[in-house]
Subunit: 463 residues, 2 copies
């Protein structure tokens, strides 16, 4: 049996100053933006700067049977990258180079630690764009976006991470490096392991590089439509009417009454009408103005009070209300941010279910939704006991309410998680969605990649 000090010593012998055993670094690696923290402190944090650093770490992990938790910027919302006692935290945040940009092939090759926003700032100089835009894009890494299969606001029109990655370089648990995928638009040679790795949350290997599929920056103006409705069900039905009209917005965000009120408080705006919910919609591309006017007409026809602007700055001001959701929630208490997704037609029914859960469990669940794709973020508010390290435990009563809400989403044909992942916080519901047979099959696939079970154990597949 290798002890933790032995493992730390072997890492230091191989990787020198890349290995950080300070309390501060180990404490930071325990938690992510979910507020959840792992038990105990990891053995060390390895700050990898190269593929070889990652390979060396994994060889030592394999030899000593030590679990490895890969981390990017630690912005996850499901505890998937939290490292605890007996584990190595492997940070790839420092591997943040852009290795290649090919405007002619509309691709870029990057290291995993680059921030999404930093990548897009660099691509903009070429008139290019990597479309995935999680709300965290200013602070989250491309590798983390890949590990979780991240989404964002623009997905209904421009796709999710899975639509925007051609290949990944993956270091296996034993340190071998595989190059998965291709640099071509089409490619069907063998099994699609690239898609398998996307969203696998660190259970199959360590992504040390990615070939990304780019788009050109969309030309033309961006128009914004803001519409209020007497209640959230009417707003949800209105978003369905927009989808049904055949016009494709780039963004279509819904805020329920509690969210809207909290943001208005935060921003010192006039209070919205009691019960009022809001849709904020953007259109882009060559027909943006025509499409915005068509959407406005659709929304008015279903009872909305509608404002349209063809001015980009004014549009950003309207969208800022939506973007202020998280700080507004933080003022209400401690939050568990959930992430169910339902077929778009089920959005009104899902809001009915949220109202039912609020009533039956006696709690408040302000909810925003990416209404264009049926992805909801219910925020469960509670009085959390903040631990000495700033982390919180979600009370059992809140999990009971979340359980009720998850089951409603599944009944409506939906899914537990649209874009945040399973991590540690949702693993107990995974088999409810997959079924026991598929759960077992998926677990066995992880064992093909990781026969010793050292890659992020206890996450996703553990009960």
């Amino acid at each position: 049996m290798t002890t933790a000090p032995d493992v730390a010593a072997r890492l230091q012998a191989a990787l020198g100053e890349r290995v950080d055993t300070s309390d501060a670094a180990r404490h930071a690696a325990r938690a992510d933006k979910s507020g959840h923290a792992a038990s105990g402190l990891p053995i060390a944090v390895v700050h990898a700067r190269s593929v070889e650093d990652v390979q060396a770490t994994l060889r030592i992990a394999t030899e000593t049977r030590t679990p490895v938790v890969t981390r990017g910027a630690g912005t996850g919302l499901a505890g998937g990258a939290n490292a605890g006692a007996g584990e190595i935290a492997l940070s790839v945040r420092g591997m943040d180079r852009i290795l290649e940009v090919r405007p002619d092939d509309l691709l870029a090759v990057v290291e995993p630690g680059i921030l999404n926003a930093d990548l897009n700032a660099a691509l903009a100089e070429h008139g290019l764009w990597w479309a995935p835009d999680p709300a965290s894009r200013a602070i989250s890494t491309v590798g983390g976006n890949i590990a979780t299969g991240a989404g964002g606001l623009l997905c209904a029109k421009y796709g999710v991470v899975r639509d925007a990655v051609l290949g990944v370089d993956l270091v296996l648990a034993d340190g071998r490096l595989l190059q998965l995928g291709h640099r071509t638009v089409k490619g069907v040679t063998g099994l699609d392991l690239t898609s398998l790795v996307i969203g696998s949350e660190g259970t199959l290997g360590v992504v040390v590089g990615a070939t990304l599929k780019l788009r050109r920056v969309v030309p033309g103006v961006v128009c914004t439509v803001a519409a209020t409705f007497p209640d959230v069900r009417a707003a949800a039905a209105a978003s369905a009417a927009v989808t049904a009209s055949g016009v494709q917005p780039s963004i279509m965000e819904l805020m329920d009454a509690a969210s809207l009120r909290a943001v208005h408080d935060l921003l010192s705006l006039d209070a919205p009408s009691p019960g009022a919910a809001q849709l904020t919609i953007q259109t882009d591309g060559p027909a943006a103005d025509v499409e915005a006017d068509a959407i406005a007409a659709t929304l008015r026809a279903v009872g909305g009070t509608v404002a349209v602007t063809h001015d980009r700055a004014e549009g950003e001001r309207l969208l800022a209300i939506r973007r202020s959701m998280h700080p507004a929630m933080e003022r209400l208490g401690t939050t568990l941010i959930e992430d169910v997704s339902v077929p778009r037609s089920a959005l009104p029914a899902m809001f009915d279910e949220i109202a039912r859960v609020e009533r039956e469990h006696g709690i408040v669940i302000p909810t925003v939704a990416h209404a264009g794709d049926g992805n909801l973020h219910p925020n469960f508010i509670f009085e959390g006991e903040v631990g000495e390290d700033g982390t919180v435990e979600v009370p059992p009563a809140i999990w009971d309410a979340a359980d009720d809400l998850f089951r409603s989403a599944l009944r409506l044909g939906g899914t537990l998680t649209g874009e945040h992942g399973i991590g540690i916080l949702k693993r107990r519901w995974l088999a409810d969605e997959l079924g026991d047979d598929q759960w077992e099959l998926q677990r066995r696939i992880t064992q093909v990649f990781d026969p010793l079970g050292i890659l992020n154990p206890g996450k996703v597949f553990s009960a």
Copy 2:
């Protein structure tokens, strides 16, 4: 040891008239459109009409350790669905119902045996469209499109099969039914087994249903641009110039001189200039006319002789030249249709390689390309000895030339197969592209789904 007659008897006892042991049916199941045929005759052809039929077949196959080869319409070009001695041919062609169309959720649920074109005819009544458009769409099934991860002409703008499937129902080798994927736009619960099944060529299970992601029929006109160039390299460079200009055509097809000449012969058109190659480009959507004019200007600037039409019928007449490629080739001799794909910027270099292979091997390789996405179909022409059943063996010298061409594509950052699959005809090159480690990992993943190795053995992964 269970004998073939035993297996046939057990199938007949369970499935009655669904089991066809006639020579005609068994002969037909040996071959596909590649011209390749399996050795010997399969035990029987099971014409499944339901999920239960498929499950019953696979339970008997598992109990008797009998290989199963799943077939749709038999239009494959890699021998992937050819069934031979000792095997059960399981046809799902008769499972061709559309179970659900949801315009509000932009999805349809279908059985695997429906023809792509039949599905799209039915969807058109709802103003909807399943985008994958392999050239075989009038005769190939949705299940076959999924099994091969099919592409087509519209992929650069509208994506491939992998971009257009939300979920699949899969019967495993032991007869269990799994529901993979979801009905939502976003969903990251567990591993993405739907993507893993797409393109897996019958090695992981039998697809018995699919939830398809639909688009609305694109409004507006379709414009067509036809341009000739003095040689194929100039045409390839011109296609790259179009991609670089940022205008996204819906279709961009390239025909080299030999292809163009053969089609002009077939259609009794005036002979093209010696050496001349052609680009045929279509634009669609609200800005189709503006985009067509911009593309025409780009092509003229790089030396093209350009014709533009905003008339749909005239455009179809121009595109008919491209669509006549296969019958034109059939008049030249027997053909091995290949399917390499390279990064778009490498298209001119790949045509140089094809010319080199023609010279060095003393053969003619008329080539068409989906130039918008870098996918080439070189047609190796040879004098084939047609067997008694109409199938042909590709001569070793032709395979040597193909080998040379495959290696060129890989050197240019390309892939063995853009859209046809590995099947039986390309399995010996698979490890060259994947590397031995990835080849072995992929093979082990198939064993998780199919521990007895009865699903399409000898295809894709066998050496």
